[in-house]
């Protein structure tokens, strides 16, 4: 599960930070910011989305000031979730904001991050290893990065038609491989 990998990574960073490792601490805070921002934004109505950044900062400050209350034998993500949830409830009450989700709704923080779907990108990279390298490059450039077929073909020193055929064959073989027999 991805959540367990996240827990493991975050917990290692937190334990290193508690022992005084500033580099690990910086990475932890930076990474948490990416998870917390969308988590807060999703629970605020459109008119209050601007509060998400404040909440991220309040949560980081609380993590810093209250880090001695983290029990090293317990999951870090659960502790952080409790801190973030507490800060959210506190903020909402103080500003008399009507949240978009019920206060008791405990959606996990670590289900999404906002770094342009890093996990999806990893999946795409894994899938593209199944076709020849040049074909994979062409597919990535035209279908993901938004280059035109002419540009991509020029980059690889091939004709536009050959590039088209290569992309088409590559996608077809990927579909055959991953779409399964159900279609």
């Amino acid at each position: 599960m991805q959540a367990d990998a996240t827990e493991k990574r975050m917990r290692e960073l937190m334990l290193a930070a508690l022992d005084g490792d500033a580099a690990a601490y910086r990475r932890l805070l930076a990474e948490l910011t990416r998870y917390l921002r969308p988590w807060f934004a999703r629970r605020l109505s459109a008119s209050h989305v601007s509060h998400a950044e404040d909440l991220v900062q309040e949560t980081l400050l609380a993590l810093h000031a209250k880090r001695s209350t983290y029990d090293r034998s317990r999951p870090f993500t659960a502790w952080l979730h409790a801190v973030a949830h507490h800060k959210f409830v506190d903020h909402v009450r103080r500003h008399a904001i009507r949240p978009t989700v019920h206060l008791d709704d405990d959606a996990p923080i670590f289900a999404f991050d906002d770094s342009a779907h890093a996990a999806d990108r990893r999946d795409v990279d894994a899938v593209l290893t199944q076709v020849p390298e040049r074909t994979a490059d062409l597919i990535r450039q035209t279908r993901i990065e938004g280059a035109s077929i002419a540009e991509a073909a020029a980059r690889h020193g091939m004709s536009e038609t050959a590039a088209k055929v290569s992309i088409h064959r590559g996608l077809k073989s990927l579909v055959r491989r991953f779409a399964g027999g159900s279609k």
Partner: protein, 212 residues
Amino acid sequence: MTDELIDRLTSDLKPTAPRALEKRLWLALALGLIGTLLVGPLVLDLVVGRPLGGAWGDSMFWGKLAYTIGLGSLGLLALPALSRPDQSRIWPLLFAGALAMLALIVGTLGWMQSDWAMPVLMGATALVCPWLIILTAAPLLAVLLGMMRSFAPASPTLAGLAAGLLSGGFGAASYAFYCGETSMMFMAVWYSLGIALTALLGAIIGRYLLRW
């Protein structure tokens, strides 16, 4: 903005010892207990005029000691979990309530056997007993709540309640050394009331002081 904050927090990082929360609690408990134990000779003896060991040698002295330390220990048992944002431990508090009920039942049976005699219930100090227990417990409660401001309780009220139960129990144990009452019913009513009021005081102060 957030990046600046991260810079600032990173440069402010100091190592945190394992079990730092428990260590701070023990420190607060030790310091607070010194204060609470000093209330005995300085206030109860010199000001109120209660010499040490009023119930010395009576079996009820040990009963009072066991009852009050038991209640205080239940508060101590709940405190570390209630001081954290992601944990909760209510059962010691419920257990304390059950223990007080049990003491009241046993006390009432004893009172019944002595034919509902008023002195068994009221002794000679019933009306000052709860207040003096709060007074004796106050230094411990103050030190505990002060230390707990650096914690992050999921419920500040419950954390304050546990601190109050702990202080009330140990404060009452300290008070028992200067108390001459030897009736079970007296302890079940007035000691329990003093400890309960201390716990309530802790909950009310905690609700505001322990916010984070």
